[in-house]
Subunit: 189 residues, 2 copies
């Protein structure tokens, strides 16, 4: 397994994870996080707008998903294009080397209502990014919204399974399977 | 049109709406809100856990939706049961007398990232409440999740139209129409 070399924003996220787990989100300050990462407060705010944001990366996921949908084969239907986006997330974000980090992050978010709120809003952003990218492929508006919601649900199901398990399952495979099951389920609504 | 007589939590919400619109969410305190409503801080915290919560009612919407799904005819399929929940929301929450309040509330939330976060989390709660109620009717897990997501999308589409318009459209009719269109769209994903 390749060693994961964190950059500054990832070092801040790792430090925040440690501190949130040790002391709780409420009892951790931005200065604490920057200090634990061996960085200054100014560097923190170059990367993140506030303390809540530190576990939500650099905002490139929206672009990653939208880019993968734009790059999907011209013949791909809406859900196949969404599957390409989930593949990209598996290749870039949910790699085996990041599983432990993601599992710890998930536990910390589950313990903090404030982080849950930020995560809920981020989820809406990801869904909107997928719907927008589908629309730009010419998918009709409502179909794009439904396909994006199914993609977001598949993401959630795959994410929960992938980050929970020690089985080594591949995120993209889990997400594609979930998406297929959701498509079948939507036909029986 | 029947006159709407606000109770204490509604008076607090109305006062908060006025103040958030006048000064912004950030520049308004709980004491300001309680004072404007002619009530004390203690009364505020009997109704709401924090300032963010004041525009999100008394938490009865989850129960209203779940109750309507439970009470749907035994023969109703998942989406028909969801439509019953949307009907109930239209009867209880999105009445003509409340349209102006809801429209102002929507504008204030759109102006505040913090309120948007709380709203995003509340949206997840409503979706989960519908999915749970469908499961208790014996709907298989994934089908319940998809039906609840389609219901949440129909809600959003109807809500945006209903609160935007001066046309006097009925919320339940808008929501049922949106749900039908989303069902058709899901077949073309």
């Amino acid at each position: 397994m390749a060693r994961w070399e964190p950059n500054a924003s990832e070092r801040l996220a790792l430090a925040a994870l440690d501190l949130f787990a040790e002391r709780g989100y409420e009892n951790t300050t931005v200065i604490d996080i920057a200090g634990r990462a061996g960085l200054g407060k100014t560097t923190f705010f170059r990367h993140f707008q506030d303390k809540r944001e530190v576990l939500f990366g650099d905002g490139t996921m929206d672009g990653l998903l939208a880019g993968a949908i734009a790059a999907a084969p011209a013949a791909a239907g809406p859900l196949e294009a969404v599957a390409c986006a989930l593949d990209a997330a598996g290749r870039q974000a949910f790699t085996p080397a990041r599983r432990e980090f993601v599992a710890r992050r998930r536990a910390v978010i589950a313990a903090s209502p404030e982080l849950q709120e930020r995560e809920a809003l981020k989820g809406l952003g990801l869904t909107a990014a997928m719907a927008g990218a589908l629309s730009r492929r010419g998918v009709p508006g409502l179909t794009a919204r439904v396909a994006a919601e199914l993609g977001a649900l598949a993401w959630k199901i795959a994410y929960e399974h992938w980050s929970d398990t020690a089985s080594g399952d591949d995120f993209s495979e889990l997400a594609r399977r979930a998406l297929g099951e959701l498509q079948a389920a939507s036909a029986s609504c």
